[in-house]
Symmetry: C2
Subunit: 331 residues, 2 copies
């Protein structure tokens, strides 16, 4: 366990200087404080809560909307907050981007704000801090990401495999045999997982795997516009979407083109956002229980803070059948 | 939701008869009570806690010792108990066998004792209630077993894959290339998982997969006696065991035969039982945090009781390196 003395010795400064820097005292220069925090973080120093100080956790969000109840991240934050605040924690929600991560190491950021642990939402594999998570000793819970072999990191998410298998089973029972996928690019852990779950579900049900049934693209509207006609031309009669918002976009696109859902095309989303029940037609989708994900995130955080090495918590991902799926059209 | 009226209608008896049967009243015959419980269980009736009645959970144990601190199940039960009792639950530990399961359906047993949920330890794939778990609506948490697609069932366990990969990595770093496995038979979910984890770890490290390096047998001492000499004859220099107790047995066998551990043979256990630190030599093993498993079991139970569909919780399974592993002997 790294102590304040170790940091002082490494820097050749007094213990009181290190202590002042870590406690954000006013009588120390900004440059010395920065040196101390960086050295402390590099050495793996974990801030212990000073008695009387606030118990603080942060929720780090990149690339995910969460401010209003209709947005994906909202209920995850709420679920986490409800349980954590009941236990006396102060929760700070911190939206950030890649640039910020490039400028400030994760360890320095956490020490600087005296956060005891973090719950991390929306990171892609390209986020710079993902590299630091491999070796951090700060209790860190990742939603929809996974880091091997680091007992200070836990993961929470939904069972994509089970959810997507249920979706493919539902479509095969409706007579579909050419099932497509429209997804964001595979630079995220979870989109890779859903992509592989899609392939293995097709294989399980003996359906054709064909790259002409798959469309991957970053921009939602643009990739919908490109891939809906392409997949239909290739004989696809049902499409899985990696997110509900992509399925919503497909509804607009189909409406513009006179394609009727589900008569001409069945579609299935992923997430079960609040508005899925009110689209025209209401969307069949795979549910992520987001309040539950937040609660599990907090449970995992508590485990890590108590040295109980949770690796992963997966929620079921049930298929919610509404009206956007129907019998396959006759040839 | 099935009600008392539904059960009464199904049986053609009065609601008060059903209510008496479910509440174990004295003025009803044993045979009528049995009929009511069986019908209620078949219809999927879930006993709601009568106000003022005790809040009861059970831990069902088959084929696992738990009475003393040295036994595998002890700390799992303790971890569960500590958290559950703090929340006001009464916990009853119920050892049972296959014969009992054959005579009494799970649903009837749970209704009969007014248990709200169960934590299930040590079941093999052959246990009759495993079939019932596929469709039960009673919140049920399985240690080291997994049931697909039933939102009333959750699983807790350790990440076998990660643990066994760490073990194989450790052995390859010590120069071992012929690594064996001695395990119980593959009629259990978890032994299957460990067996496949062993195969995939060998593949990952480019090591030879050879059925002559593997010994599967039910009886511990007998299979040790058979397989230790056989594997050594086949050139194996290190053996993974599916449980610490099998590794203990191997130590005795090796001692009898003048085989020195780790000079002649490296061995690795699984579980990290308390006595692993005190064997001669102290055993390198893959740790299962059993207090933590019990705690996670209770967390999952609470989630299911609140309709939060946890699928699985996996703990890390770190490799604890002691003295039973060493450099591979020279040819």
């Amino acid at each position: 366990m790294i102590t304040i003395s170790d940091i002082a010795a490494q820097l050749g400064v007094s213990k009181s200087t290190v202590s002042k820097a870590l406690n954000n005292a006013t009588d120390i220069s900004a440059s010395m404080r920065k040196r101390v925090l960086e050295t402390a973080a590099e050495m793996g120093y974990i801030g212990r809560r000073i008695s009387g100080a606030q118990k603080k956790l942060c929720i780090l969000i990149e690339n995910m909307d969460y401010e209003t109840p209709n947005q994906f991240g909202h209920d995850i934050v709420q679920g986490f907050r409800q349980m954590a605040e009941a236990d006396g924690w102060i929760i700070e929600v911190v939206p950030l981007d890649m640039e910020f991560q490039r400028l400030t190491p994760y360890g320095v950021f956490m020490l600087d704000h005296s956060y005891q642990a973090a719950f991390v939402l929306g990171f892609s594999l390209l986020d710079p801090w993902m590299q630091e998570f491999k070796s951090t000793q700060i209790p860190t819970v990742l939603y929809d990401n996974y880091i091997k072999n680091n007992p200070y990191i836990a993961s929470v998410g939904c069972d994509n495999q089970e959810g997507i298998e249920l979706a493919v089973k539902h479509l095969t029972e409706l007579g579909h045999s050419k099932i497509g996928l429209i997804s964001g690019p595979l630079d995220s852990y979870i989109l890779k997982a859903r992509y592989h779950a899609y392939l293995s579900a097709l294989e399980k049900y003996g359906l054709e795997i064909n790259e002409d049934y798959i469309g991957l693209g970053y921009f939602v509207a643009e990739s919908t516009r490109t891939y809906i006609p392409k997949l239909l031309d290739n004989g696809v009669t049902a499409i899985l979407f990696s997110h509900d918002v992509r399925a919503f976009s497909a509804m607009t696109e189909c409406s513009d083109r006179g394609i009727q859902i589900p008569r001409d095309l069945s579609i299935i989303g992923f997430d079960d956002l609040p508005m899925t029940a009110y689209t025209t037609p209401p969307l069949t989708t795979i549910r992520q229980d987001r309040i539950g994900l937040g609660r599990c995130g907090y449970f995992a955080t508590g485990c890590l803070l108590n040295s109980l090495p949770i690796g992963s918590i997966l929620l079921r991902a049930p298929l919610i059948v509404r009206d956007s799926t129907g019998p396959a059209p006759r040839e």
